[in-house]
C-alpha cells in the first residue's frame, strides 16, 4: 500500500511537468490507478496533492472519477473543508468539480459536504474563502434544486450574513475584497430570488424587518432588489410548492440559470433573451451583421466575430438571427459562410489550439489557463500574470463595457483574443502561452490591414457610447456590483499600465503585482507593506479567478442552452416547412375536392334528369299495362259467360236426347200394347161367345136352383140352434181358459217374489252364519284362553298334588323308617298296640287288590284321572275342614286313613290312588326289611319318576 502510495505521489509530482508527453503519460497512469482503486487511497492521495499544489491536472483527474468513488472524494473534501488551513483549496477544488458537473453531483445534496460548506460560509471570516464558497454555492444551487427543502434557510442565512458582512465589514478587509464579496452576494441574491422567490422574499421580510438589519437592507439589499423584476411565482406560488422537488424535475441546470437571469434587470447579470430586440443590443447586432454584409471583411472581422460569437449565439439564438433580419425562414447561409471562414482560420492556425468555433471559444480560456498553470511557477506569480493579462486586456475596455447584454463571462476571454497586444505581451512573459497565442497573432496580423479602419471606427463609436452609458450609470444611484467590479478591473488595468511603465523603468518584477489594487495604495512604501499588499493582491486575484470561473460556468450553461435552442429552432423550422408543405398539399387537395364536388353536382343533376325520364316512362308503361290488364279481365269475363252458355246448351241437348229416348220408348210400348190389345180383342170375342153360352147355362141352372131351394126351405131352422149352442160353449170354454191363464201368471209372480225373498233370507243367513262363526271363533278363543287359564290351574294343582304326594311319600318313608326302627321293640307287644297294625296292613291288602286291577290299568288311566283330582280336592277340603294346620303329617295320614274307613264310597278311588302310589312304592314295601337308606333313595327316585310321568 505504502509502495503504491509512494508511486502515486511520485507520479503526482510529475503530473504537472512541463513535458507534455510525460504529463499525458502520467495522467493516463493515474487514471488507470484511479479506475483500479479500491479503498480510495489513490483518490485521497490525489486530493491531498491538489490541496497542496492546486494542480489543475489533479482537479481535472478528480473531476473525471467514476461515480463509485465519489463517496471517498466527498468525505475527503468534507474533511478538508472542516480544516481551516485547507479550506480555500478544498472549496476551490469543489468549485472545479462542481463546474464540471460530474454525474454524481446530485449526491452532493445528501453528503455532509454541503452542510460543511454552508457552515463554513456562515462562520468563516476569510473573504477569499467566502467568495469562492458563495460562488460555488451559486453554481451548485441549480444543480441540486431539490435540496432547497432541507437547506433553504441555511442558504438564506448565508446570504444574510454575507450581505451584512459586506456592509459592515467586521473583518476590516480591503474594500476591493468587499467589492468582490458584494458581487458574489449579488449573484447569490439573484440565484435565490430566481429559484425560491416566495421563501426568499418572506425571509427578507422577516430578516430585514429587524431594526439592526435595517441599514444593511437600505444599503445592500435594496439596491439588489432594484435590479430584479417581480417574480411571477410571487403571485401564484406558495412556500411549499416552491420547495416541491417535482417542480424541478423538468428543469435542467441551464434552464434554471436562464430562469434566474430572466428576472434580472441588470444587464450584466441577466440574459438579454427577452429584450434582445431592444435598441441597446444594436451595436452587437451591427457587429454580427457586418460580416454578412461585407463578405470580404476577412479574418480580422471574423476574429472579432469569433470573440463575440458565443454571446451572439446565446443571446440571439431563439429570438433573433441574422437570417431573420433578412426575412428568411431557413437557417441563414451567412452562418455557413462564417463556418467556412472559421474552418479556413482553423486550417491556417497551428495545431494544438482548438478552432475558435463555438466549442473552441468555450474551451479556449480553459486551455489557456491550463497552460498557464501547467508550469511549476509559484502560483501568486502566475496569477499575477493572468491578472496582468486581464488588466492589459483592458487596454481596450470598450467591447467589455460597450456590449451590454453580454455575459460577464465575455469579459474574460474577450481580451485574450481581441487584443493582439495583450497576447503578444502574454507570449513575452510566459513561454508556454506562446503556442495558443501565436495563431491569433498571425490571424490578426493577417486581418488587420482590412479591419483596422472599421475596427477603429467602431471603437470610437463604442467608446462614446460607453462614456455616455457610464455617465448615465454614474447618475444612477444603484450601480450593479458587477459593473462596479468591472470598473475596478478597468481601473486596475490603468494602474497596471501605469505600473508597467514603471516596471519598464527598472522596478522589480515583484512590484508588478499591485495592478488590481487601488491606485492610491499602489505606491510601494517598503517590503513589509509590499508583502501585505502582495497578499492582498493575491487574494484579490483568487477572488477574480473565482468570479471568472463562475462566469465561465454560466457561459457554459448558456452555451448548452444555446445548443438546445438552436436544435429547437432547426426543428421548428423543419416543422414550419413541413407545415407549409402540408398547407400546400391541403390547398391542392381542397382544389381537388372542389373539382370533385363540381363533377358530383353535375352527375347529380344528370342523375336527377335521368330519374325523371325514367319515372315518366315508367308511368306511361304502367298506365298501358293497367289498360291491358283491364281488357284482359273483360275478355276473361266474356269468355266465362260464353262458356257457361255453352254448358247450358250442352245440358239442354242432353235433356232433349233423353226426351227423345223416352218418346221412342213410349212409341215402342204403345206399339207393343197395340199388338197385345189386338190379341186381347180376339180373345174377348171368344170369351163373349163363351159368355153367351154360359149365360144360357146360368139361366138353366137358376131354374134348377129355384126348384131345389123350394125343396130345401123345410129343414133350415133346426140347424141354426145347434150352431148357436156350439158357439156358446166355445165362448165359455175360451173364458175359462183365459182365467186359468191369469191365475197361472199370478202364481208365477208370487213364486218369483218368494224366490227373491228366500235369496235375501239366504244372504242374511249367510251373514248370520259368518257372524256366528266369528263369534264362535271369538268365543273359542275366549274359552281357549279360559281353558288355558284353567289348564294352568289344573296343571298347577297337579303339581301341587305331586308335591303333596312327594311330601307324603317322604313322610311315609319317614314313618316307615320310624316304625321300622320302633317295630323291633314293638313287635313283641303288637297285640297290645292294636291301633296301628291293622291300618298298616290295610294298605298292603288294598295294594294287592289293585295289583289285580293292574292289568287293566293302561286302558283305565284316563278315567282314573278325574277321580284322582276329585279325590285330591276332597282330600284337601277334608284337610281344611278337619285337620288343624299344625297337625303332624303322621296324624294327617292317620286321619286320611280314618276317612277312608268312614267313607266307603269315596274310598275306592282314594284308596286306589293311594294304592297306586303304594303300588309304585310297593316294591320296597313288599320287601319291608329294606334298609332306610335305600328307602329314602327310592323315594327320591319315585319322585323323579313321578315328575317324569307327567300327564302332559
Amino acid at each position: 500500500m505504502s509502495k503504491e502510495q509512494l508511486s502515486i505521489s511520485e507520479l503526482l509530482l510529475s503530473l504537472d511537468s512541463s513535458e507534455l508527453q510525460e504529463a499525458e503519460h502520467v495522467r493516463a497512469a493515474v487514471n488507470q490507478q484511479l479506475s483500479s482503486d479500491r479503498g480510495g487511497a489513490v483518490l485521497s492521495a490525489l486530493v491531498d496533492f491538489y490541496l497542496e499544489s492546486w494542480s489543475n491536472q489533479a482537479a481535472l483527474l478528480l473531476s473525471s472519477i467514476r461515480e463509485s468513488n465519489h463517496k471517498v472524494l466527498l468525505e475527503k473534501l468534507t474533511e478538508a473543508v472542516n480544516r481551516p488551513a485547507q479550506r480555500l483549496a478544498a472549496v476551490s477544488l469543489l468549485g472545479e468539480l462542481v463546474r464540471k458537473q460530474p454525474p454524481w453531483i446530485h449526491l452532493l445534496s445528501r453528503s455532509p459536504l454541503l452542510p460543511a460548506l454552508l457552515r463554513c460560509l456562515k462562520t468563516d471570516t476569510d473573504v477569499v474563502v467566502l467568495i469562492t464558497g458563495v460562488l460555488v454555492l451559486v453554481t451548485l444551487l441549480p444543480m441540486i434544486p431539490q435540496t432547497g427543502k432541507q437547506h433553504l434557510y441555511d442558504f438564506f442565512d448565508v446570504f444574510g450574513r454575507l450581505a451584512s458582512w459586506s456592509y459592515k465589514n467586521p473583518g476590516n478587509v480591503p474594500e476591493v475584497h468587499l467589492l468582490h464579496l458584494h458581487a458574489s452576494v449579488y449573484s447569490l441574491f439573484h440565484r435565490l430570488y430566481g429559484m425560491f422567490p416566495v421563501n426568499f422574499i418572506s425571509y427578507l421580510r422577516l430578516h430585514y424587518s429587524m431594526k439592526e438589519n435595517l441599514d444593511t437592507f437600505q444599503e445592500v439589499v435594496k439596491p439588489m432588489l432594484e435590479h430584479v423584476r417581480v417574480h411571477p411565482e410571487l403571485v401564484t406560488g406558495t412556500q411549499d410548492y416552491e420547495l416541491d422537488p417535482s417542480r424541478w424535475k423538468r428543469y435542467e441546470v441551464h434552464d434554471i440559470l436562464i430562469e434566474c437571469s430572466r428576472l434580472c434587470l441588470d444587464v450584466l447579470e441577466s440574459s438579454c433573451e427577452d429584450d434582445v430586440c431592444s435598441p441597446p443590443a444594436s451595436p452587437h447586432l451591427n457587429l454580427t451583421c457586418s460580416p454578412a454584409l461585407t463578405h470580404t471583411a476577412s479574418s480580422s472581422v471574423s476574429a472579432q466575430q469569433l470573440t463575440l460569437r458565443p454571446a451572439h449565439i446565446q443571446a440571439d439564438d431563439v429570438t433573433w438571427s441574422p437570417s431573420m433580419h433578412c426575412g428568411l425562414a431557413t437557417p441563414p447561409p451567412e452562418s455557413v459562410a462564417l463556418g467556412s471562414v472559421h474552418s479556413l482560420t482553423r486550417t491556417t492556425s497551428i495545431s494544438g489550439v482548438r478552432p475558435p468555433t463555438e466549442d473552441g471559444s468555450t474551451q479556449q480560456p480553459i486551455r489557456a489557463e491550463q497552460e498557464q498553470l501547467s508550469s511549476f511557477q509559484p502560483i501568486p506569480k502566475q496569477e499575477t500574470r493572468a491578472l496582468s493579462d486581464i488588466s492589459s486586456s483592458s487596454a481596450e475596455p470598450h467591447p467589455l463595457t460597450s456590449t451590454p447584454g453580454h455575459d460577464r463571462q465575455l469579459s474574460g476571454p474577450v481580451p485574450f483574443f481581441t487584443s493582439p497586444q495583450h497576447i503578444r505581451w502574454g507570449t513575452g512573459s510566459a513561454p508556454s502561452g506562446c503556442s495558443p497565442a501565436s495563431p491569433y497573432d498571425l490571424l490578426l496580423e493577417l486581418a488587420l490591414p482590412h479591419a483596422t479602419p472599421l475596427f477603429l471606427r467602431r471603437k470610437t463609436k463604442e467608446r462614446s457610447e460607453a462614456e455616455q452609458e457610464e455617465a448615465w450609470l454614474r447618475e444612477d444611484a444603484t450601480v450593479s456590483p458587477l459593473k462596479v467590479l468591472d470598473q475596478l478591473i478597468i481601473h486596475g488595468d490603468h494602474a497596471h499600465q501605469h505600473f508597467s511603465r514603471r516596471l519598464s523603468a527598472g522596478l522589480k518584477s515583484v512590484e508588478r503585482s499591485p495592478a488590481g489594487g487601488k491606485p492610491q495604495s499602489m505606491k510601494s512604501k517598503g517590503p513589509a507593506h509590499q508583502e501585505s499588499e502582495f497578499q492582498c493582491l493575491r487574494s484579490q486575484l483568487m477572488m477574480v479567478h473565482a468570479q471568472l470561473q463562475y462566469e465561465r460556468f454560466k457561459r457554459q450553461q448558456h452555451a448548452v442552452r444555446n445548443r438546445r435552442l438552436l436544435r429547437r429552432v432547426i426543428n421548428a423550422a423543419a416543422l414550419e416547412e413541413h407545415s407549409a408543405a402540408m398547407k400546400a398539399q391541403l390547398l391542392a387537395q381542397d382544389e381537388e375536392i372542389r373539382c370533385l364536388n363540381l363533377s358530383l353536382q353535375h352527375e347529380n343533376t344528370r342523375y336527377v334528369n335521368m330519374q325523371h325520364d325514367n319515372n315518366t316512362q315508367r308511368d306511361t308503361l304502367q298506365t298501358h299495362n293497367r289498360q291491358l290488364l283491364q281488357q284482359h279481365q273483360e275478355a276473361q269475363t266474356h269468355n266465362q259467360k260464353l262458356q257457361s252458355e255453352l254448358q247450358e246448351c250442352r245440358s239442354q241437348l242432353k235433356d232433349q236426347e233423353a226426351e227423345l229416348q223416352r218418346a221412342n220408348k213410349k212409341a215402342y210400348n204403345s206399339e207393343h200394347q197395340l199388338s197385345q190389345l189386338s190379341m186381347k180383342l180376339s180373345s174377348t170375342q171368344q170369351l163373349q161367345q163363351q159368355m153367351f153360352l154360359m149365360n144360357q147355362q146360368l139361366i138353366l141352372l137358376r131354374e134348377t136352383n129355384r126348384a131345389l131351394s123350394e125343396q130345401l126351405d123345410g129343414g133350415r131352422a133346426l140347424r141354426c140352434t145347434e150352431a148357436s149352442m156350439l158357439q156358446c160353449s166355445v165362448d165359455v170354454e175360451y173364458q175359462q181358459l183365459k182365467e186359468s191363464d191369469m191365475q197361472l201368471r199370478q202364481k208365477l209372480e208370487a213364486a218369483n217374489h218368494r224366490i227373491a225373498e228366500l235369496e235375501d233370507q239366504l244372504i242374511t243367513k249367510d251373514q248370520l252364519i259368518q257372524d256366528q262363526k266369528k263369534l264362535l271363533e271369538e268365543t273359542k278363543n275366549q274359552s281357549r284362553c279360559e281353558l288355558k287359564a284353567s289348564d294352568s290351574r289344573c296343571s298347577s294343582l297337579r303339581k301341587v298334588c305331586q308335591a303333596l304326594q312327594t311330601e307324603m311319600l317322604q313322610l311315609y318313608s319317614e314313618i316307615q323308617q320310624f316304625t321300622h326302627t320302633r317295630s323291633q321293640p314293638q313287635d313283641v307287644n303288637r297285640p297290645n298296640g292294636g291301633g296301628g297294625v291293622p291300618q298298616r296292613l290295610r294298605p298292603s291288602s288294598s295294594a294287592l287288590g289293585v295289583i289285580n286291577g293292574g292289568a287293566e290299568e293302561p286302558n283305565a288311566s284316563p278315567p282314573i284321572e278325574s277321580p284322582l283330582a276329585v279325590g285330591s280336592f276332597l282330600e284337601q277340603h277334608a284337610r281344611q275342614l278337619f285337620g288343624p294346620t299344625n297337625q303332624s303329617p303322621v296324624e294327617t295320614e292317620k286321619q286320611e286313613e280314618e276317612e277312608e274307613e268312614d267313607d266307603p264310597p269315596d274310598s275306592p278311588p282314594l284308596g286306589q290312588e293311594v294304592e297306586e302310589n303304594m303300588l309304585l312304592i310297593g316294591s320296597p314295601q313288599a320287601d319291608p326289611p329294606l334298609s332306610n337308606q335305600s328307602q329314602a333313595g327310592t323315594a327320591r327316585q319315585r319322585q323323579n319318576e313321578l315328575s317324569i310321568m307327567d300327564y302332559d
Binding site: S783, S792, V800, A803
Partner: protein
C-alpha cells in the same frame, strides 16, 4: 277423534306445555275398550309412549298373558288365577314350606318353584342361587309396584317366564351392545373402563338379569319394565348406558374396578327419572320408535 274439534284444539297445546300423557291416556283408553284387545297395538303403544300408572297393571297383565285378551273372560280367568294362587299357597303351607312369617317374596319363589316342579325338599333348603336371586329381586320390586298379592305373584311369574323365553337368547349379547353404544356416545369413558378393567366386572347380572330391579327405584323402574314387557330388552342396554353417561365424571374418577362396581351397584337414587327419560330418548334415537326387535 277428528269429530271433536275442541279436543284437537287443546291437544295442540299439551305437548308445548309438557303434558305428555294426556293424549296418550285417551288413546290407551280407546285401545282398552276393544274386545278382544289387540295385543299388538297395546304393545306398540307401550313402546312408544309412557303408560299412565292407573292402567299400568292392567296393561301388564294383558301383555304378560295373566289376563286373556277377551275382557269378558277377565273375571272368570281372574277367578282361576286367584284360585290357583290360593291352591298353591295352601299346598305350600300344608307342606310347611312357608308359614305366616315367611316373607312374601320367598312365598312367591316357593310357589314358582312348586309350579315349575323345582321345589327343593324342605330338608335341604339350599341358599337361593343366582336365578333365585334374580327372582327375588324382581319380586321385591314388583311387590312395591303391585298391591294385590295374587296379581303380584302372577305378574312376577309371567314377567320372568316371558323375559326368559323371549330374551333368554339375547341376554348374553347385551354387554357387547352396551360396549358398542358406549363407544359411540363416550369413547373416553369406554377407554377408561377398559383400561381400568372395570368393563368386565360391570354389574351385568343386576342390570340385565334382574332388569334393574333393586338398582333403580320402583317409580323409574316401572317405566323401564313397560318397555321390557312390551317386548324390548334393548332398553336395558340404554338404561345401563345412560347410567354410565350420567355418572361419567364420578366413574372417570375411579381407578380401581372395585370402586366402579361398588358405585354402580349402589347408584344414587335421586335423579333416576331423568336417567330413564334420557335412556328412553336414546333408545328411540338408536332403535327408532317402531322397532319391536329385542
Amino acid at each position: 277423534m277428528a269429530d271433536d274439534p275442541q279436543r284437537n284444539f287443546r291437544s295442540a297445546y299439551y305437548e308445548k306445555v309438557g303434558f305428555r300423557g294426556v293424549e296418550e291416556k285417551k288413546s290407551l283408553e280407546i285401545l282398552l275398550k276393544d274386545n278382544p284387545l289387540d295385543l299388538e297395538k297395546i304393545s306398540t303403544f307401550s313402546q312408544r309412549f309412557p303408560l299412565p300408572s292407573m292402567y299400568r297393571i292392567h296393561v301388564w297383565k294383558v301383555l304378560l298373558g295373566v289376563l286373556p285378551p277377551h275382557s269378558d273372560s277377565h273375571t272368570v280367568v281372574g277367578g282361576y288365577r286367584k284360585q290357583q294362587y290360593q291352591d298353591v299357597l295352601e299346598a305350600l303351607e300344608v307342606m310347611r314350606y312357608i308359614d305366616s312369617s315367611t316373607p312374601s317374596t320367598h312365598v312367591y319363589l316357593r310357589m314358582d318353584q312348586l309350579e315349575s316342579q323345582v321345589l327343593p325338599r324342605c330338608s335341604d333348603t339350599s341358599p337361593p342361587d343366582e336365578e333365585n336371586e334374580a327372582f327375588l329381586c324382581i319380586s321385591r320390586s314388583m311387590e312395591e309396584i303391585v298391591d294385590d298379592p295374587v296379581d303380584c305373584y302372577w305378574l312376577i311369574k309371567c314377567f320372568i317366564n316371558q323375559f326368559h323365553s323371549k330374551f333368554g337368547d339375547s341376554l348374553p349379547h347385551l354387554p357387547k351392545s352396551l360396549e358398542h353404544y358406549l363407544s359411540q356416545e363416550e369413547p373416553r369413558l369406554l377407554h377408561h373402563l377398559r383400561t381400568s378393567g372395570a368393563l368386565k366386572q360391570l354389574p351385568y347380572s343386576l342390570w340385565f338379569s334382574c332388569c334393574f330391579a333393586g338398582c333403580l327405584p320402583e317409580s323409574s323402574l316401572q317405566r323401564v319394565w313397560d318397555k321390557v314387557i312390551s317386548g324390548s330388552c334393548k332398553i336395558l342396554v340404554f338404561v345401563a348406558l345412560e347410567i354410565l353417561l350420567s355418572f361419567k365424571i364420578i366413574l372417570l374418577g375411579f381407578s380401581r374396578p372395585e370402586g366402579v362396581v361398588n358405585f354402580l351397584r349402589n347408584i344414587p337414587q335421586e335423579n333416576t327419572d331423568a336417567i330413564v327419560t334420557k335412556a328412553i330418548d336414546l333408545w328411540h334415537k338408536y332403535c327408532g320408535t317402531l322397532v319391536h326387535a329385542v
